[in-house]
Every structure is written in structure tokens, then in C-alpha cells.
């Protein structure tokens, strides 16, 4: 695990070996490390706090050498609960086995970032640990800012979640009589309490409609604003990434599966992609294609390749420079009423990784030089492979570049990611017979680029002008190396 600021050895309950999970505990202690990364309180909280105040992130541990992501089987502790060093906090399922993960600090489980049943890549924060009770709130705000800002939780910022709501410990000498006529206390069934905890519903605020006025599971579901589900499996709370996967699966009458077909539930990444794709349907887009002569670019590439420059960096740099001249293509329209010019030109580049899709972002692509961009790119790809990209490294793009040229694809059109103004689909550069204005035929390497844009803010002429600029840069690439 690369990012461990501190990792720990401990005895374990279950160890992994390759295909065979048995082991003798006397010989093979296993690594069950939880990684905590301390974060000094954010500057906005620069009040006079205790000096030692710390909020630690609990990271998804690497439980085996082959583990890339882990599923949270269950949180043993609930939010707000006190943790003692060495106590099991969460159960994680790796590709091999379930393991208890222990805490190595005393403190409070301030916030659960990745809920039960969800999956998180190794190294991702799955929870926050506050050192003192006072910091729980702060940690919660932090957790909230971590999770999507657009997903508004239907719950008011609640006090530490009420789990079992034990009746206030009033020292009643004779509870027998007190119960009969006293103010009715909250009675909730076990499943209702479980659901309330899951959906962060304050059970005290729920009206009970069950027998004897007790709160039932369906009462909690109504309070949480969800349709009473038939299955006992509750929908998962939103995952931490902004691409929340609260997949509103419209249960239409799907045709029965064909024989031999298999059902594979979405991974977190897949559901994020799925959600984004559905969202993109609400944006009116159009496409403009443009042939670009790449002879000069190819020649340049041959020259700078030994210096570690990649084609991706060249294209990103060219796009960045073109965008600088056509800021409207780098703008974004989020609410359909206004749009914003982005201060930076951040080129997101789509990369296929382990069957998934992620878009690491080259920030300030127009300003950084080619070599720095190439270096940066290598770094991002490495992080993406090991699933260690930080959110700002994959969600801060203002324009996306998607290149399928290396597969021989001559042209394709891309779907515009929500929140961006345009995406460029780059095809392969191929020797093509072209006629110049004097009618002479020649063979030139030509690449077709196709830009999809949000027609609410970018119009045909804008895009055409942008493409013209882009083509000019590619065809006279000397400016790229400046």
C-alpha cells in the first residue's frame, strides 16, 4: 500500500493465501493494516482549537497483494461510537475473505463515508475517526463535503445518530406503574431501528402506526421518503465520490433473461458511469467533425518522443491552446439558466482501466509545457491503475479528450460528460488522398476529430472556429513546444 503514513501489523482472524485460504496462525501472521491519514483541521476552522486535535481518515486497507478494492461487509461500530485501540471497527471483504479491521487509535468513529455493502478502492477513505467527541461534528462536515454536494440528504444535520434510543435513564423507583400511565416512550421494532440507522432517520421523530403505536419498518421508510421495499435489502446510501450511485433503477417489466445469461451487479465505478450517462441525456448536444492533417505533428512526435512526450500530452496541449482562444467551448452550463467561463483549462482524458473508465485530468493544459504535461500524465495514469487518484484528479475537468485512434478507429462520437461544455473524440491518423485547392492530389496523414458540445452554450460556429484553431495548431505544431 503506497500511501500509508502508518501501517500496522497485527494478529488476524483470517488470512489469505492464493487459492487456499487455510493457514496456520502460528506461522503466518497476516497483514491487516488500516491506514490513517491525519489531516490538520482545515484553515477555515482556524479557531483556537486544542493543538492535538486530529481527524483521521480510515482507509480501505489492502488485505491481500491482489486486492484492488474491498467491499464493506458491515460496520461493527456506529457513527459516534467510541473506539478503543485494537477494537474491530469494520468488516471488509476482499477478493479472498472477510476480515475484521481494527483501529489503532483511540477516538470516535465520526463518520462513515462508505456504507455497508458498498465497495471502495484500496486507499480510499471509508470513514473518519475523530480524536475527541468535540471533533465529531467537524469530521461530519468534512465527510459531507467529501460526498456529493449535489446529493442533498433529506435529513437535517442530526445529532450523533440515535441508535437504539434507550429511554432516558431516569431513576425510576417503580417502573412498573410508571410505564402504564407515564408519557409514552418510543417503541420501535428491531428492523425499524436498523432502517432508521441506515437512512439516518431520527427515530424519535417518526410517527408510529404499528400495533400499540410502535414504529415499524414501513413507518421509517415513509419518514425516509422511500417506497417501502419488498426485499429486505435496503438501497445503499450514496457512495463518497461525486458520481453518486443512487441508481434509481426503474423497475419496468424487463423481459426475462435469455438462458445462460448472467447477472453481474455494477461495481461502484460502473454505477457511477451509468448514472453519468443517464444524466447526459438531459443535455442537448450536437457534433461537428473536422479532418486534421497530422504530418507535421507526427514529425514533431518522432522528435520529442525520446524525451518522454506522449501523443496524449501533445493533443491535450493543442486542445488547451485552442480552448484558450475559444473560452466558450471551455465553459460549462450546470443549471440550464446560466453558464460559467472556467478560469482554468483542465483537460480530462478518458482512460480505460481494468474494465472501467476514468478520466484523469491534466490541469492547466494550456499553460504547462509539453514535458511537464507528459510527466504529469504518466503520474496520473500510474495513480489511476492503482486506484489512488484523488477526487480532484479525476473530476475537475472542463473539457474531455477521448482518443481511440490507437485502435484504428477512424471516427467516432463521444457522449458529453455532464458539467462540461465539450468533448473531443479523436480517431486514427491515416494516410489519405487529399486534393489541395489547386487540384493536386497528394497523400497526407489525416485524422478525424469530432467534437460533441452542449448546444445551450456552444453553437455550431463556435465549435467550427475552435476546430479550425485546433487544426491550425496541429498542422503547425511548433507552438506546442514553446
Amino acid at each position: 500500500m503506497a500511501v500509508s503514513s502508518s501501517s500496522f501489523l497485527s494478529t488476524t482472524s483470517l488470512t489469505n493465501s492464493k487459492s487456499n485460504i487455510s493457514f496456520a496462525s502460528s506461522v503466518s501472521p497476516s497483514l491487516r493494516s488500516v491506514v490513517f491519514r491525519s489531516t490538520i483541521p482545515a484553515t477555515s476552522h482556524r479557531r483556537s482549537m486544542t493543538v492535538r486535535s486530529k481527524i483521521r481518515e480510515i482507509f480501505m486497507p489492502a488485505l491481500s497483494s491482489t486486492m484492488t478494492e474491498g467491499k464493506i461487509v458491515s460496520w461493527i461500530k456506529t457513527e459516534g461510537e467510541k473506539l478503543a485501540k485494537g477494537e474491530s471497527v469494520v468488516v471488509v471483504e476482499s477478493d479472498k475473505a472477510d476480515m475484521d479491521v481494527e483501529t489503532f487509535y483511540d477516538g470516535y468513529l465520526a463518520a462513515i463515508v462508505v456504507g455497508e455493502g458498498e465497495t471502495a478502492p484500496v486507499g480510499a477513505a471509508i470513514g473518519l475517526l475523530a480524536e475527541t467527541e468535540a471533533e465529531i461534528e467537524e469530521a461530519k462536515t468534512k465527510a459531507a463535503s467529501k460526498s456529493s454536494s449535489s446529493v442533498v440528504e433529506a435529513v437535517v444535520p442530526s445529532p450523533p445518530p440515535v441508535t437504539s434510543s434507550p429511554a432516558p435513564a431516569i431513576a425510576q423507583p417503580a417502573p412498573v406503574t410508571a410505564v402504564a400511565d407515564g408519557p409514552r416512550k418510543t417503541v420501535a421494532t428491531p428492523y425499524a431501528k436498523k432502517l432508521a440507522k441506515q437512512h439516518k432517520v431520527d427515530i424519535g421523530s417518526v410517527a408510529g402506526t404499528g400495533p400499540f403505536g410502535r414504529i415499524t419498518a414501513s413507518d421509517v421508510e415513509t419518514a425516509a421518503g422511500i417506497a417501502p421495499s419488498k426485499s429486505s435489502v435496503a438501497p445503499p446510501p450514496p457512495p463518497p465520490t461525486p458520481v453518486a450511485a443512487k441508481a434509481a433503477t426503474t423497475t419496468t417489466n424487463l423481459p426475462p433473461l435469455l438462458p445462460d445469461s448472467s447477472i453481474v451487479p455494477f461495481t461502484a465505478m460502473q454505477s457511477a458511469v451509468s448514472k453519468n450517462m443517464i444524466e447526459s441525456l438531459s443535455v442537448p448536444t450536437f457534433r461537428v467533425g473536422y479532418p486534421v492533417n497530422t504530418d507535421a505533428l507526427d514529425a514533431l512526435y518522432e522528435k520529442v518522443k525520446p524525451k518522454g512526450v506522449t501523443m496524449t500530452a501533445l493533443l491535450a496541449k493543442a486542445a488547451g491552446m485552442a480552448l484558450a482562444q475559444h473560452p466558450v467551448v471551455n465553459a460549462s452550463c450546470k443549471d440550464g439558466k446560466s453558464f460559467s467561463y472556467n478560469a482554468n483549462i483542465n483537460i480530462a482524458v478518458a482512460v480505460a482501466i481494468n474494465g472501467g473508465l476514468i478520466t484523469p485530468v491534466l490541469q492547466d493544459a494550456d499553460k504547462l509545457d509539453l514535458y511537464l504535461l507528459s510527466q504529469k500524465w504518466k503520474e496520473l495514469v500510474g495513480k489511476a491503475r492503482s486506484k489512488q487518484l484523488q477526487p480532484h484528479e479525476y473530476n475537475s475537468g472542463t473539457f474531455t479528450l477521448s482518443n481511440l485512434g490507437m485502435f484504428g478507429v477512424d471516427r467516432f462520437d463521444a457522449i458529453l460528460p455532464p458539467g462540461q461544455g465539450a468533448i473531443m473524440a479523436v480517431g486514427a491518423s491515416k494516410p489519405t488522398v487529399v486534393a489541395d485547392k489547386d487540384g493536386f492530389f497528394s497523400v497526407k496523414n489525416t485524422m478525424l476529430v469530432n467534437v460533441t458540445a452542449d448546444h445551450r452554450i456552444v453553437y455550431g460556429a463556435d465549435l467550427a472556429a475552435f476546430l479550425q484553431t485546433f487544426a491550425k495548431i496541429i498542422e503547425n505544431p511548433d507552438s506546442l513546444t514553446l
Binding site: 487459492s19 496456520a24 496462525s25 506461522v27 431513576a171 412498573v176 421494532t189 400495533p211 400499540f212
Partner: protein
């Protein structure tokens, strides 16, 4: 039949710590180097009349082994009654323990009578292991059919699963009737006299049954078993506040039921009730659920059997008062702190099941006639099940087996103890190794265990100066389990790395209750890991889970150089 008996679930619960300590304490004191215990091999095996006939014939053939009975030299089996006694052996109580003893006694050529004041079969058959297995068979299927994800992963589509309560209840009742008849018939067929009436001890070698029938026997076994233990303050009405006796009739499926005690009985019922749609609240006096299990197993079991289900729990509390539902009010349960005894909470539920363990049924047995004083109702016995009187001396010719002595409150333990006693009275000294008796809890998935838990073994190792190692495997590594989509579960073995002795095996997973016997037999026969690891298991089967354990264990000594000389012609 065979499986029904072998799978008998424990009627003991570890919720009352004093019971547990009593039994485990005695387990601890039992020497571990004892031999035979596999005597149950032919105890049950007559579901058809053919087998019955065969069996009777075999038994009637005079035993070739010459054995002696000091007082009553009965060399020709059931034929001639002894001079001075009506019977060689009288057993009070026809439960599983008494039945096992009776069958073995007949095999040993003893003239045997069994006294039963209620119905043949006792708790296990009528109000315990047997009917509960019927309910659990239903709950297991319901659980599977309701688990959409599980079915989908098989590619199966099932529309909403439902059940008919009366149908389920009938299944349990029919099973109990069937097993009871089998038991009765087997004893009748073998020539055991079944005497009806309440039995009591009149004096040495003298028993009264019914109104005033007095009979004598050379040896007497008390096997009167136990009844559900109901702590004081709890009012059982049989409708909304019930014990396992009532619950097994399944007269209702409440929306919300509190189960007092999270031992075997409570756990199994939570499995049944949640599968049938109830929500469950556990009330446990100890600080954690499922005390008595190996800590690691109970931790995992809680994760699988409690947390994802519609169950919550209160630990460290006693139910000090439980009032049945009446006058339009729900069942009221008052909880007090187990340590401070301060009131903690009040619960309102639809029903409460009292599963706080079992109390010995020894009242009115006439024990005062032989100067025996019970301890919390249990009849004190030595390691050979010989009854100890108030002065600490052995009462001659009087034995007590099963729940009534509290050593290990399991049906099959009672049976094994009965067989051990019969061995002794027929001239062969025998001491039962209680550490080789397996126990099982038939939840979904099942839990089973034999021998010591890890903390117990470590403590023992420290005391006696040997090293203790633990080896574990996951059901996720077993092909058959994965084929069944049931990869949840672990098995662990606690052993001595120096000589390969198995100290304990604990399994949580699919068919754990069936898997444990390879381990319990190994412990009973003293088989060492280095030897058993060479044995072959069919592939792919769940039995490979244990194979995995044996093979993964690191034992310093080598396999005994014993070659199997018998050659099999292929």
C-alpha cells in the same frame, strides 16, 4: 431416523452461566487420554420391519463374549430372570438417554425395563431437537427462497415465497410422532419392558412406578432429563409468553418476539422466526451474544446470523419481569442491569420466548430414600455416572445420566453416558470422554463444535506446558460450498503442534453439524493429525473443509509408520 437422532440439538443453553460452568467444569476435569466412546454405532437403525427382525435375531443369539454380572449371572440373556431381582437394569425415563441405554443393555444380554411417566422419547423427540429440526428445515428453505439475490445468482426465478403456518406446525408434529413410534417400536421389538407411570427410587435397588408397583433391579439408571428453565418473575401463559415446549407447536408467528437467552435454543428459534417474518429482540444476561461458543465463531455467527437479519439485542441485562399480553396491552418485559440490578429499560413486544436454558427434572424421584441431595436440582455423579450421596460417597447400583446430572446437556451425550453405564454394569469399566462429544446449532448456516474453544485450549496449554496452535480455513475456499453459493463460513482447529493431538474443532458454515463428526471421531479414537491428514476425501465435497484443516496444520511429529496391510481387490 438415524440422522434425526444424530443431529439432535442441544437442549442446553449457555445463557445461565452457572449451568455452563457446571458442565464445562466437569469436562475440564475429565482426563483426556480415555479410549472408546464410539459405542453408538448401532444404537439407532430400525426404520423398517426388516431391519427390526434382523436385529432381534442377532440379539437373541447368545453373546459369544463371556461376561460376568457379579450378582445375577445371567448368561442366557433375556430368558431367565435373576433369582433375587425382577430386572438386571431399570431405567427411569425413556428419553434419548434412557433409550440408548436400554438398547445397549439388551445387546449386552441384560433384562431391562424402562419407566416412562409421560411419552416415550422425552424432550428431544417430543419437545426439543426433533420438532425443532422440522421447523428449521422449513426456515432454511424459506430463507433461501426469499433471498432474491441468492436465487438470481443461481439463475433461478421464484415468485414470492409464502407459507402456511398450520402446515409447518403439522410437519413438526408429524415428525415427532414418527420418531416417537420408531423409538417405542424399537424397544418393544428388542424385548425391553416399557412400564408406564411416574417412577421413583424407593431404596437401594428398589423402584416404584405408577400408583404402587414395586420392582427390583440389580442396577438403576435415572434418566429423567430436564424441563425448560423459567427464571422467577416471568409468567408463562403458553400463548404470548412461551417456552420452547410451546414454540415448537408453532401456534402463532408473532410480528415481534423477544427471545430471552441467546444460546443454542434461542439462536435456532431466532432463525425460525425471522425466516417466517417475525422481528426478534434478544435479551442476553451476559455481555455478549452466543456465549459458550468459540469467540471467533460467535463473532462471525453474529455477523451472519444476527446483524443482517431483523434482529436487535440487549446484552448484560436480565428480564426481571415478563407479563403476558392481556387487556389490550402487549407483552411487557422489564430489563434490569445484570450486574447492578438497576432497572434499565422496558420492552413492549408481541410475544416472548423463554430460552434461558433447562432445569433438571428430578423432583419427586425419592432421592431422599437413598440419601442423595441434589445441587440446584442436578443429581451429583462421578465420572462414571455413579450417583454420589449427601456424604460424598457413592450410592451402589445407582446411576444418573443425561440432563438430570447436568454434565453435558445434549441428547446424544445422555445416550453416550447411558451406554457407558451399561458397559460398566456388564463388567467392562468405561469412562466417557466428554471432550469428544460434538455439539451443533442448526441455524442457517449451522454451527458445530467439539472439544475445547481456543481460550480454553490456550489456558490448558499454559497450565500443562504445551504449545497450542490454531489453523483455519474459509468455506470460500471450498468448491462444493461455492457451487452451492454458500461460501460464508469458517472452520478452525485447535491442536498441539508437538504431537498432533486435536484439542477442538469449530465450524460455522454449510452443513457444519454433519461435518463435525470426522473431528469428533478423531478425538474419540485418539487419531492424530499427522495420520488423519493422509486420509482421502471425495472431491468436491464439504468434507474437504476439514481435510483442508488437517493438511494445513503444522505438526512436528511424523505419521505413525503403520501401513494398511489389507489389500482390496479391484
Amino acid at each position: 431416523m438415524q440422522s434425526a437422532m444424530a443431529l439432535s440439538f442441544s437442549q442446553t443453553s449457555f445463557t445461565r452461566p452457572n449451568h455452563v460452568l457446571g458442565s464445562t467444569g466437569s469436562v475440564f476435569s475429565t482426563p483426556t487420554s480415555l479410549r472408546f466412546c464410539g459405542l453408538r454405532r448401532e444404537a439407532f437403525g430400525y426404520s423398517t420391519s426388516n431391519q427390526l427382525a434382523l436385529r432381534c435375531e442377532r440379539i437373541r443369539i447368545p453373546s459369544r463374549k463371556s461376561f460376568q454380572v457379579s450378582a445375577s449371572a445371567s448368561s442366557n440373556g433375556n430368558g431367565a430372570p435373576p433369582k433375587s431381582f425382577d430386572y438386571d437394569l431399570i431405567i427411569i425415563g425413556a428419553g434419548v438417554g434412557g433409550h440408548g441405554a436400554a438398547l445397549h443393555a439388551v445387546e449386552k444380554g441384560l433384562k431391562t425395563a424402562i419407566i416412562e411417566g409421560d411419552v416415550v422419547g422425552g424432550t428431544c423427540v417430543n419437545r426439543g431437537c426433533v420438532p425443532s429440526k422440522a421447523l428449521l428445515a422449513v426456515s432454511g428453505r424459506m430463507r433461501e427462497l426469499q433471498n432474491e439475490h441468492h436465487m438470481k445468482s443461481f439463475g433461478l426465478q421464484v415468485s414470492a415465497a409464502g407459507y402456511d403456518r398450520q402446515g409447518v406446525a403439522d410437519h413438526a408434529n408429524n415428525l415427532a410422532t414418527k420418531i416417537r413410534n420408531n423409538l417405542t417400536n424399537s424397544m418393544k421389538a428388542l424385548g425391553v419392558d416399557i412400564l408406564t407411570g411416574f417412577g421413583s427410587v424407593l431404596g437401594p435397588q428398589k423402584v416404584k412406578y405408577g400408583k404402587d408397583n414395586i420392582i427390583t433391579a440389580k442396577d438403576i439408571i435415572i434418566a429423567t432429563g430436564s424441563v425448560p428453565f423459567v427464571p422467577k418473575g416471568i409468567e408463562v401463559d403458553g400463548k404470548t409468553v412461551i417456552t420452547s415446549d410451546h414454540a415448537l407447536k408453532l401456534e402463532s408467528v408473532p410480528d415481534w418476539i423477544a427471545i430471552v437467552g441467546s444460546g443454542y435454543i434461542g439462536l435456532e428459534f431466532s432463525d425460525v422466526y425471522t425466516a417466517l417474518g417475525s422481528e426478534v429482540t434478544f435479551i442476553e444476561a451476559l455481555d455478549q451474544l452466543m456465549p459458550g461458543f468459540d469467540p471467533e465463531i460467535s463473532k462471525l455467527a453474529q455477523r451472519v446470523l444476527i446483524n443482517p437479519r431483523k434482529i436487535d439485542y440487549h446484552t448484560g441485562v436480565f428480564a426481571s419481569k415478563i407479563t403476558p399480553a392481556k387487556d389490550g396491552k402487549p407483552v411487557l418485559i422489564e430489563l434490569i442491569d445484570a450486574k447492578t440490578k438497576e432497572p434499565k429499560d422496558t420492552l413492549e413486544v408481541d410475544a416472548a420466548l423463554i430460552a434461558t436454558g433447562r432445569a433438571p427434572f428430578t423432583n419427586g424421584l425419592g432421592l431422599e430414600n437413598v440419601n442423595v441431595v441434589t445441587q440446584r436440582g442436578f443429581i451429583p455423579v462421578d465420572e462414571r455416572m455413579r450417583v454420589i450421596d449427601g456424604n460424598g460417597t457413592l450410592v451402589p447400583n445407582l446411576y444418573c445420566i443425561g440432563d438430570a446430572n447436568g454434565k453435558l446437556m445434549l441428547a446424544h451425550a445422555a445416550s453416550a453416558q447411558g451406554i457407558s453405564v451399561v458397559e460398566q454394569v456388564s463388567g467392562r469399566d468405561h469412562v466417557l470422554n466428554h471432550l469428544s462429544i460434538p455439539a451443533a446449532c442448526f441455524t442457517h448456516p449451522e454451527i458445530s463444535m467439539v472439544g475445547l474453544t481456543e481460550p480454553q485450549a490456550k489456558e490448558k496449554g499454559e497450565k500443562e506446558g504445551f504449545k497450542v496452535s490454531v489453523v483455519k480455513t474459509s468455506f470460500k475456499a471450498n468448491t462444493k460450498a461455492l457451487a452451492e453459493n454458500e461460501g460464508e463460513g469458517i472452520a478452525k482447529m485447535i491442536y498441539r503442534p508437538d504431537n498432533g493431538e486435536i484439542l477442538g474443532v469449530h465450524i460455522f458454515g454449510l452443513h457444519a453439524a454433519d461435518l463435525i463428526h470426522e473431528a469428533s471421531n478423531a478425538i474419540a479414537l485418539g487419531t492424530r493429525i499427522q495420520d488423519i491428514k493422509l486420509a482421502v476425501h471425495a472431491h468436491p465435497t464439504l468434507s474437504e473443509v476439514l481435510d483442508e484443516l488437517f493438511k494445513a496444520a503444522k505438526v512436528e511429529s511424523h505419521a505413525t509408520t503403520r501401513t494398511v496391510s489389507e489389500k482390496v481387490v479391484v
